[in-house]
Subunit: 359 residues, 2 copies
């Protein structure tokens, strides 16, 4: 019950143990087509360029930035936690010119500040923000942020690593141009794959670049040849066969439950956990309206040894909860309710265990 | 029996289905230390910076280049097949100045040409070459090439994706500074992980850079904090837990057999396959002394439809062999004898199947 990787269900583990076949085998390519359709459902998008990057979420992030940011491009980057800071670092390494919109840790991104930034920086080409900040548990209003970017003629890059599958992510309805997620949060698959999706506007931007993409591996012009399936598959790299079996199965489980039902389950059980944590006297980092159901960050109570308590939970209760990151190191616990791990049994078990170790 | 992914043994598949635990869990970190020790054995090195990159071989390749090549650096790149060409592309995207040493497809890299290139380009900082060219099945003399580079004060980057585990790769004895491999060839694990190793000279070069590494994900300065284990683990990215279980098991199998025994098995069974292919009238692409045991490239006989024959092998015999890449598309078959798939049973089965479809 940390901030991910979350528990992986038996069906997904079993899928990963299926025999490895070739990445150019027709049977594997049939599975890839199903996987892409399942990902479109998860992202609630019709984007044809929707596929899993063969690497962790950080590679999905970098894939978005290296393709959509050219040297000299101005990028408005919203920073309200660790992962906004990582976006900023990506912009810099692509030679982009970042304009930082800062909000306090534990709060959502303020749309008014973003609007103000666009008014000053009328030449900004991209808006980048984190939908669900895994370091704090704050959720931002992606629809409002994407609308501002669109009004100012900029593309949007959205981090939805922790939100996808746990809380609504509506790529098309919101008008997001590029988004990346991770397999190991609310999708409950093994870490190491990063689902991404790109709008036609984003693809046009990549095609119109004046400079080559600095990464060979992440260059969408090359990756497209393998994942698009247009005019036959071109070999690009060897896809991670077994983890892809796992992601396929994880997405089937999500589709069987239905996205709306999965969102409702996360909301309901979050409320149960929230009530229990309050009874234990633990204070939430994020104000109620901005809280993510799947990531519950609470302050470590005064006088409690953070590391010793987490070690006891792991050793005596076989229970992992997450430590604080960055400015929150040693000060915050992050309790995940992600995907398969978001169950009434886990909420109860976690509250009981915390009750005992805090007693 | 294609050019990889190779068959994955049951033990490795079962390992990948073990429960997913946290990437910062002490039990997982204990496994990581074992994994690093097993990789040092596989690479025959004492290099402390030896670990699996969380991505396919192409990411391991790019990790070597983005860290060791700065804009303006002159790099001698040996091209004798597809993967040498990919190295060249990497040098360009890092802003390096490539000097190409070309050899015919199907032949080893000629050390005399490399020596000559260093004499002209005395300021070359890096030599890059492919030890085992997967597109042709040619093996180059890595010891000779690394010695030339060292004499001229340059670092070496070596691609050993297809060689590691199948034919000797002696990082320390040869004096290689950076090498990358893949999990899915002679190590017989699922694709998606890239073992890499860096000498102290290489680490010094990274530390002395004047410009930041262009990739956030691949920046060794950041990755080191997670994999080095010095002064506690720093979170960098979420490691691909289950595939790492698989690689750990695959390396244990290799250690149980012993490297020398694995090399001997590949050599012996290659000779058996070679004799059988000759009986079928199939001509090898690579002259005998430069042939890789684990990748057997033969010319498609006159009048035979390449794709139709490979489809028949797959449909009727459940047997995959590889197509030609690049200049060899449609002209060459690549028969892999890699790791677990390198067995007497497979050699016999492949020869019988080929005999029937060519009849």
């Amino acid at each position: 019950m940390g901030p991910g990787p979350s528990d992986v269900p038996e069906r997904v583990l079993a899928a990963m143990a299926r025999p490895t076949i070739g990445h150019l085998d027709p049977a594997f390519q049939g599975m890839m087509e199903e996987l892409k359709a399942l990902l479109r459902y998860a992202f609630q998008t019709e984007n044809r360029l929707t596929f899993p990057v063969s690497g962790p979420g950080s590679v999905g992030m970098e894939t978005c930035f290296v393709n959509l940011v050219e040297p000299g491009d101005k990028v408005i980057v919203c920073v309200n936690g660790v992962f906004g800071g990582r976006m900023l670092e990506n912009v810099r390494r692509c030679g982009g010119v970042p304009v930082v919109v800062e909000d306090p840790w534990g709060r959502a991104v303020d749309p008014d500040k973003v609007e103000a930034a666009f008014k000053v920086h009328t030449d900004a080409r991209v808006l980048a923000f984190v939908h669900a900040e895994t370091s704090t548990g704050a959720q931002s209003d992606a629809a409002a942020l994407a609308a501002i970017a669109r009004r100012h003629g900029a593309l949007t890059i959205m981090d939805c690593v922790t939100s996808l599958g746990g809380t609504p992510v509506l790529i098309d309805a919101w008008g997001i141009d590029a988004a990346y997620s991770g397999s190991q949060k609310c999708l409950s698959c093994t870490p190491g794959l990063s689902p991404v999706t790109f709008s036609e506007r984003a693809i046009e931007r990549v095609r119109a670049r004046k400079t080559p993409v600095q990464s060979w591996f992440m260059d969408l012009n090359l990756v497209l040849g393998y994942w698009s399936g247009e005019g036959g598959r071109t070999y690009h790299h060897t896809a991670p066969i077994n983890p892809l079996y796992g992601l396929h199965e994880a997405l089937r489980i999500l589709a069987e439950e239905g996205m709306e039902n999965a969102w409702a389950r996360h909301r309901t059980l979050h409320q149960a956990l929230e009530a229990g944590l309050a009874r234990l006297g633990l204070a939430f980092v994020v104000p109620e309206p901005e809280r993510l159901p799947q990531l519950n960050a609470v302050f470590v109570p005064q006088g409690v040894n953070d590391a010793a308590l987490r070690a006891r939970l792991l050793d005596e209760f076989n229970l992992e909860i997450g430590a604080g990151l960055g400015a929150y190191a040693g000060k915050v616990w992050r309790i995940g309710l992600m995907g398969h791990a978001c169950s009434a049994r886990n909420v109860q078990y976690c509250l009981e265990a915390l009750g005992k170790v805090l007693d």
